[in-house]
Symmetry: none
Amino acid sequence: MTQDLHEQMKIRRTEILAAALEVFDAHGFGHTTMDMVAAKAGIAKGSLYNYFSNKQDLFCQAFTETLSGDEADADAMIAQDRPAFEKLEWMMDRWFSRFGHFQKIGRLILEVMATAARDEQSPLSPVLQTMYAGWRQRLTMIVEQGKATGEFQDHAEPTVAASLIMGVLDGVVIQAILKVGVQVDAEFLDALKRGVLAGLTAATAPGTGGSQS
Amino acid sequence: MTQDLHEQMKIRRTEILAAALEVFDAHGFGHTTMDMVAAKAGIAKGSLYNYFSNKQDLFCQAFTETLSGDEADADAMIAQDRPAFEKLEWMMDRWFSRFGHFQKIGRLILEVMATAARDEQSPLSPVLQTMYAGWRQRLTMIVEQGKATGEFQDHAEPTVAASLIMGVLDGVVIQAILKVGVQVDAEFLDALKRGVLAGLTAATAPGTGGSQS
Amino acid sequence: MTQDLHEQMKIRRTEILAAALEVFDAHGFGHTTMDMVAAKAGIAKGSLYNYFSNKQDLFCQAFTETLSGDEADADAMIAQDRPAFEKLEWMMDRWFSRFGHFQKIGRLILEVMATAARDEQSPLSPVLQTMYAGWRQRLTMIVEQGKATGEFQDHAEPTVAASLIMGVLDGVVIQAILKVGVQVDAEFLDALKRGVLAGLTAATAPGTGGSQS
Amino acid sequence: MTQDLHEQMKIRRTEILAAALEVFDAHGFGHTTMDMVAAKAGIAKGSLYNYFSNKQDLFCQAFTETLSGDEADADAMIAQDRPAFEKLEWMMDRWFSRFGHFQKIGRLILEVMATAARDEQSPLSPVLQTMYAGWRQRLTMIVEQGKATGEFQDHAEPTVAASLIMGVLDGVVIQAILKVGVQVDAEFLDALKRGVLAGLTAATAPGTGGSQS
DNA sequence: AATGAATGAGTATTCATTCAT
DNA sequence: CATGAATGAATACTCATTCAT
């Protein structure tokens, strides 16, 4: 019975989080009221406080939950014995396959970023920190492998390369969210992959500061 | 005399905008009160409404003003008869020289993006749209020139390449703002330039397109 | 239990309306603050909004409630088989018995009239319209009966007579509210009744219609 | 020159009052701003305070001015040697000829009444008091004359009769302003006159309290 | 645990009035 | 006298949170 009760609450909690995510995404933190969330979740406003201590907490948990996708697949892939080249492609394909979701929660991410950027004490900060650290580490490992096997050129400092790759992915998502012109489709993805890989594999990085001629 | 008055008001307006920018950036739109802005600007709360019709308007103008840097230099440079390669480098150098400012107002930019992403009717949307359109056009022109002169490889679709370049710059700024590990210094910039240019000039992008097989 | 709650809220609502009526009457709509009403009702300011959506709504409901006296007695009386003469007297006696209340809320009525006169879209307009329409109809019926039975002379167009009777009652209330001299007592009422009835029963109105010549 | 200046100001003052009357009537005291009045009068907001000490004062003077029509004609007429009967008719005709104006400023009058009723210290109170006192006196004199000459029956106490006559006129104006159904035209006026005169001249006031049968 | 009525701190905005020019 | 920018008091309304039932 107690078990049932716990199950019940767990389910209810999940329902609330789903409702909260939807409402927060649609209206933003500031314009979302607890009434809205309660209404969407189909429970009384006061009941929310049996599951979450306050609005901040609810927002934070809802965001964390939706972001913490299963990253096990990526780790498993990296552990495999495959060319760094292929691994990087796989990562970008994976990112692309999630593009729709990113766009969906992109507004929320932007808001979270703005909040985290403003207040480092925010409970949201570690969430972003962890996520970025994880992906940077994975990308760094891939680049390192590539350099070790000679697939990638030596001019690429792995952590910097990882940052750039993450940067371009973030940047593209932002342009898509803001609808400032970019059309993200298979062709775009292909160009993106080619560009990134070309930057890493280019036989000779063109001498900066001088023309090629 | 009337001239003096107009001058006075123009100066006052600028002071208010500076104060507003600072406070908005520090606390975000929602947590900034008109009292705060008035106090920072050293005038009475009610006086704000002699210059701006409401809080939204004040925010929008403050943001627009700070973003609309003089882009004449970029256009002048593009018009010159120089290799695309050099032009692109110049652009990235220029971006880097403004990096400090971007970081300073980055939190504000994120908030504006979140707002614009949520409400396309927001007066902030066109500001972002215009800015992105302008820079995309400039970058596209450079890439086109590069392809025409043979500096850049043919696999780079100019508008896509422009998006990618802008994306990586945006993404890097975000990582810097969020302090998620990247250290943006001269060395980083160099790697960034090399990476971007390598992506454009690489003789042949390694066998992408069949990667999934 | 739920029943109790509903009862509780009904009672609370009535208390608020009573408090609101008092404060609105004393200070007028514009000079009454929600704080005043809340204080008088003994609840928190915010709680008012659990019962009324805004100040206008509160005002409108308070006014409507106090005006919508039970008019069933008048209708019942009219339905009886009695001389029109007696019915009209009864009506005026009834009005007189309510004179104290009219005087009490008279300032409010004047303000409502001013509002309704300025804005026909005001929710107060229909309240007045309905009230006037009801009483005009009742008076018209009485005059019609009086003409049919020969009690009243034929020169009295029923709807016009009804308007005049209502007008004199309104006018007297206004003079009483403004304290511009009239002393409304039993003697005055008697004169009023005599005057009205005389106007209806007078055998022949003295040569009006040629007066201008 | 000083004379000219005085003239100038007098003219300006009159213009302001006209503008104020229009705006106050259209929007009511509470919703009229000094800016509106200044704009309508074509001068600067601050200049209003060179002519009137504050908003209240401006309102009061504007209202007083529009109400204080020339009453000399009425007094002259009363002084003539004519039947009371004719005089009373003349008075009602005069009232009717001004009906349009009453309707026009009626909303303002209602608001003034509401204000005066609420605050006897209001400078508006004496304005109304004086106006009512004047007309009551004139009507009382006419009724007294009529009784003395035998035109009117003895049952009419002059001051009470005067109040009733004024009341019906006020009441009719109110109904017209509120647009609650009455159609005030020549026919209506005729009925009104007949009714009033009948009430005064009726050979025998019907025994109150008993039916005629 | 669930409910939802009660709470009251928090704030954008208005506008009569002043006063330096 | 004319002007209109500056002032700041005044106030309706929201909404996260609490707590009695």
